[in-house]
Structure formats: C-alpha cells, structure tokens
C-alpha cells in the first residue's frame, strides 16, 4: 500500500510565520520514513500535525484511508515517541508501558501480558518495577519505545529518537530500532536533524527546509542525485563549481567552468540551454587523486596542490588548491597499511572524476 499516510497540501501558520508550507507526501505501509532538516525547518510541526497536537491551517491528512486532520491525539491510531522521552516520573516502568492500554479499559491480565511482551521486545524484563529516575538514557529510550508501541499503533512517530544518546549507543540503538520496525511491520515516521541517522535508518527520506520538502527519495537518490543546492549541501559534503552549459548531447551535458579552468562533462538527460549558468557538484569521495596526469579523456582532470590534509584512520581528507585558487575537498580510503603518506603538504596532485559523478544542481 503506497499511500498509507496521505498528506495533501498541508500548511501550518503561527501568526505570520509559516512553519509548514503546502506539503504533499505519501508514505507507504511498513515504511521507515525520515523527515530530515535543520532546526526550525518545520519537521517537528509536521510530526505534531500527524500526532494531532497541531491542527493544520489548511490541507488534509489521511491515515489508512481515514481523514484524521481534525481528530484529537487520543483518537488517532498513531503513537509518538517524544524527544525528551516524556516518561511519567511518578510511575514505574511497567505502569508507564501499561498506560496506553489502561486508557482503553482493557482487562488487567491482558494488560500485564502485553506489558511483559513489550518488556521482552525492548529487553527490559529486569527493570519492570524500576522508577524512571533509576534508568540510564538508553533504558529510558527503550521504555518510551515500548510505551509507544504497546497499543500497536498503525503509525509510530519518533521525534529525534536517538539524539539524547551517546555515539556508540546511538549506533547500536539504530539497528535495534530497525529490527523492531521490521518485526512489527508498523510504519515509522522519524524526525531527525542527523543526516547519518536518517541515511542508515530509513527506506525513504524527505529533506525539509523552510517548511517545504526539498527532495523526497531513498537515501541513495538523495545522496547521489540531489535535486538542488540545499539538499546537496545538507547531506554530506560536496564540492560545487559554477559552470556554463556549452553543448547538449543525448545522454550528457558538456560544460565549462571558470572555477576549475576546464571543461566538465556530466551524465544526465535534464534539459538545459546552451549558455545557461548552472552549478556542478562532485562528492569528495568521487574524486580520484593521482600524482601523474590520468589519461582517460572522458574524465574531468584538474591540477592542484595539497593545501591541507587530515588522517581519519579509515580514510584521509584532502583540501586541494586548484590553479584558479578554488579549494576542492577530496577523500580517499586508506586501503594499504602504511606509515608514510601518499601525499604531503604542498605536493602537486591531479584530480579527476568521471562524468557520472558530476551532478548538475538547480536552485
């Protein structure tokens, strides 16, 4: 089911401020969908509209075929995991988790059984009677998750689910979340500002800025084929060059850039006019570094000098100064074990990349 959640032309105004601006989106059943953006981009407002804490100023939200736009939070088949986890401090772990079912007036024995199932799911069996202030951050996160899942919602909303955890725990929890989602088949909608988190977790991502979606797609699509400057900049690092279109061919576009001082070829079927000003973007890891001039004429080749370099263990980062003065970032995997560097400061170097690595951005 491709349109399990249907968001149609949803906007939210707070006075003069437009938090969410005419958003359209379909989320499929069982998807792990992320809304990615910086603070104040409207992602949390959108999530709160899905939860029912905010009513859209205009537009419509449907979940599983039902219009929920004006439904109260407690009537929606949706549960939310809060960024602060919002664990009730005056109730122990079991009572926190049971809360949702208690409000449905379900028999005690049945509630207890479900609570035990949930505790097992999040591996907190031994913490049943603990009070929240006796739990670690990771345990609190799992209590919040169990509490939000116990009613078997059609959609689980997660607001920055991992932001409060430290790095190691975050990586482990990421995979736990994915496993649980896979096991239960519940549609997850995650809001996050962390692009790495969004990339690893999600089946699809919406990149949001100024209340609008800049691009919606799989992590790969977003990373490899960013639609515009914002998306390219937001996800990972990218080099951009101002360029002019010189020739349009069937499957490729030829350009000339003053910033590299060379011609650049990009693959693509987008339509441009000759003479049009565009931006060409290349990811650092797509740039090859070599001491001799590469011989492939299809590739774009530029000469430069190592301006700065950084050793990160698994890879090295380079900042290369081109003859035009432009700084380009490149990275390479450290495949060989060696204490001597492949490149040193101020050493001349050739940069090259393939036509399919160059992306033409529109604003």
């Amino acid at each position: 089911m491709k349109d399990f959640i249907k968001i149609r032309g949803v906007s939210k105004h707070f006075g003069d401020f437009v938090a969410v601006d005419d958003v359209h989106l379909d989320i499929g059943k069982g998807e792990l969908f992320s809304i990615l953006g910086g603070s104040g981009c409207g992602k949390t407002t959108l999530l709160r509209m899905l939860a029912g804490f905010e009513i859209p100023s205009s537009g419509k939200i449907e979940i599983d075929g039902n219009d929920v736009t004006h439904q109260a939070p407690y009537d929606r088949p949706v549960n939310m995991m809060f960024q602060s986890y919002a664990i009730f401090p005056h109730m122990n772990v079991a009572r926190n988790i049971a809360y949702g079912l208690q409000k449905e007036g379900i028999a005690k024995a049945k509630i207890n059984k479900r609570v035990d199932e949930m505790l097992a799911l999040v591996q907190l069996e031994d913490f049943k009677t603990r009070k929240p202030d006796q739990l670690s951050g990771g345990q609190r996160q799992r209590v919040a998750l169990a509490r939000a899942l116990i009613k078997r919602p059609k959609v689980l909303l997660l607001d920055e689910p991992l932001a409060a955890l430290d790095k190691k725990l975050r990586e482990r929890t990421q995979f736990e979340l994915m496993n649980i989602q896979d096991e239960l088949g519940i549609t997850f909608v995650v809001v996050t500002h962390d692009q790495e988190e969004a990339m690893t977790l999600s089946s699809r991502i919406a990149v949001m800025d100024k209340g609008r979606f800049q691009q919606v797609g799989t992590p790969k699509e977003i990373y490899e084929f960013p639609d515009n400057r914002f998306v390219a900049d937001f996800i990972g690092t990218i080099n951009t060059f101002e360029a002019v279109v010189t020739r349009m061919l069937d499957d490729r576009i030829e350009l000339y850039s003053d910033e590299t001082g060379t011609a650049i070829t990009a693959l693509g079927k987008q339509l441009f006019e000759v003479g049009q000003q565009v931006e060409v973007a290349v990811r650092p890891e797509k740039i090859f570094l070599s001491k001799d001039k590469p011989s492939n004429d299809e590739d774009t080749c530029v000469a430069g000098v190592v301006d700065d370099l950084g050793y990160l263990g698994n890879r090295s980062l380079y900042r290369i100064r081109l003859e035009t003065g432009k700084i380009v970032q490149a990275s390479s995997q450290n495949r060989r074990r060696s204490v001597t560097r492949f490149l040193e400061w101020d050493e001349p170097v050739w940069l090259s990349w393939r036509p399919r690595s160059a992306v033409i951005l529109m604003d």
Binding site: Y74, F82, A86, Y99
Partner: protein
C-alpha cells in the same frame, strides 16, 4: 517542617560529596546546626514556656500565674486548664469552626490558585515575571491597610453596595461586613499568594511533553490532567495548602476586623483569654491545643510522603 525535612534530606545527600577539609567540616556542621539552633531558640524554648504556663493556675499577680515549683520546692502543676477546655463546649465549637473556616479557605485558595498558577506557568517566559510580580504586589502595602480597604469595599454604604444600588440591582444594602462571608473574603484574599507561588514553582518545572504523551496514549485532556499534572503538582499543592491552612487557622486580625461577634475563631479566643481575661494559663492551654491540631496532620503527611519516597527508592 516538611520544607525543613526536605532540606535535611538534601543535606544528607550532599554530605558524600563534601571533602574532609577540617575548616569545611566545621562550616558544614555549623550550617547543619543552624536550623536546629533556630528551632531551639525561637520555637522549642517559647513552646516550653507556654507549656509551663498552661499547667499553672491563674492568680492576680505579676506574672499572672502560679509558679511551677511552690515555696516548699514541690512541683505544683495542674491539668485544670485542659480539663476546662474539654468540658466547656464553646472551645470545642470554636476549634471546629476554625478548622472548618481554615479548611474552606484553603480549598477556595486551591481552586482559585491552581488555575492561576497553571496559567502563569504556561504563558511566555517574558510575561511570567510580570504576572508573578502582580501576585506579590499586594505585599508592598501593609496587611492591615489592605484589610481596612476591604472594610471600605464591603461596608453597608461601601463601594460594592453603593454600586449595586446605583445599578438598581438591589434596593437595600447587603450586609457583608461582620459576617463569615467577609472573613472568608479576607482569608482567601490574604493567603492566595501563598498558594499560587509554590504551585507555580512545581507547575513551571513540569515537562509539557508528559501531558501530550498521556494524550497521545489515549487520555482525554481531563484524564491527562488527573493522571499526570495533578500527581506531579502534589508537592506544590501540599506546600500551598499548609502555607494557607496553618496561618488561617490561627488568624486573629481578619476575623476581628471583618467578622461579626458570632464568627468566633480560635485566634480571637486566644487573644481574649490573654488580654481581656488575663487568664494566661487557660490561654496557653488554648495555644497548646491549637498547636497539636496543626502538628498532628503535618506529621501524618510527612510520614506519608516519606513512605512514598521509600517506595520509589
């Protein structure tokens, strides 16, 4: 006392963190001893004196009570005063009236103060300061003056009656002054800030996500209030109620100035026994019983809170 106990608990937590520098140690002991010293000098010692007087007989002399040890050095105490308090119905009724008045004033303060505190805690941080200032603003004017102002408002030809008659809503002035109603108005007006401030302190700290989480899990707004907001506000509710109930119970000025002769409260009786009848021993006995009436519920409450804390530990 509840507040003090909480402070002690925090002190004992802090103990482990302190270093064992001898100078620090000395200061620490002093800091710990200070509240006890205060209690000893300003509460326990006067209490002992009152207790001693309450066990004496009144005499027309200076001081107006018999000494604890007679001329031969024998202990001479009597429970007559307490016996009298029990046998004369007037006292029992007055105590009861005082408890009821104070309790009703407390409930009224709570039901007015809770929405106020809640409202203030939920406004923009910038406006909160202003609103809190408005709550404490009346303290800048003498308490007595404010009570007199109420007399001016509630008089038979005061502002309120004049306005109602001018508006044609009533023909005769309504008797407000010298009634229980006036005492109520005075009590609630005077003690409302003591309810609002501790309530505000707890509500302001409360994480709003908790209420939304409850709603998200299926609780209606009212349900979420009773499940989440109310239990979490309980420390503030308890502190506010004690801060209103205790002084309202022994209040003397408000019933004296606003109340009628029939609205007799224990504070008034206490005053009259001391200064009109000059029966210091009986007055002291009245004070002791009043204190017991106040202390017993507080101790029970404290024990309840302590057990609550244990169960959470």
């Amino acid at each position: 006392m509840v507040i003090l106990a909480a402070a002690q608990r925090r002190d004992s937590d802090g103990l482990m963190a302190t270093t064992h520098n001898s100078k620090d140690e000395l200061w620490r002991r002093f800091a710990l001893a200070a509240p006890y010293l205060w209690l000893l000098v300003f509460f326990l010692a006067p209490f002992a004196i009152i207790l001693k007087i309450s066990l004496a007989d009144p005499v027309i002399a200076q001081p107006p009570f018999t000494p604890t040890f007679d001329a031969t050095g024998h202990l001479s105490i009597t429970a007559d005063n307490f016996r009298f308090l029990l046998t004369d119905k007037l006292y029992a009724i007055t105590y009861l009236r005082s408890v009821l008045m104070a309790a009703m004033a407390t409930v009224l303060c709570l039901s007015l103060g809770f929405p106020m505190a809640y409202g203030i805690a939920r406004t923009q941080p910038a406006t909160r300061g202003l609103l809190l200032l408005l709550i404490v603003l009346p303290f800048w004017i003498s308490f007595l003056l404010r009570v007199y102002a109420w007399m001016g408002l509630m008089n038979n030809y005061g502002v309120i009656n004049n306005f109602l008659m001018w508006a044609g809503l009533i023909e005769q002035p309504i008797q407000m002054m010298y009634t229980d109603f006036a005492v109520f108005i005075g009590l609630v007006y005077t003690y409302l800030p003591f309810m609002v401030l501790p309530l505000y302190a707890t509500l302001e700290r409360m994480d709003l996500d908790l209420v939304e989480a409850a709603q998200d899990l299926g609780a209606s707004r009212t349900r979420a209030f009773w499940d989440i907001t109310w239990p979490l506000a309980r420390p503030g509710v308890i502190a506010g109620c004690l801060l209103v109930f205790i002084p309202a119970m022994g209040e003397y000025v408000i019933p004296y100035l606003l109340g009628g002769p029939e609205s007799l409260l224990i504070g008034r009786v206490l005053f009259d026994e001391f200064f009109v009848n000059r029966d210091w021993p009986l007055a002291s006995a009245v004070a002791i019983v009043l204190l017991l009436l106040l202390v017993v519920p507080i101790v029970l409450l404290q024990r309840y809170q302590a057990s609550d804390q244990d169960s959470s530990a």
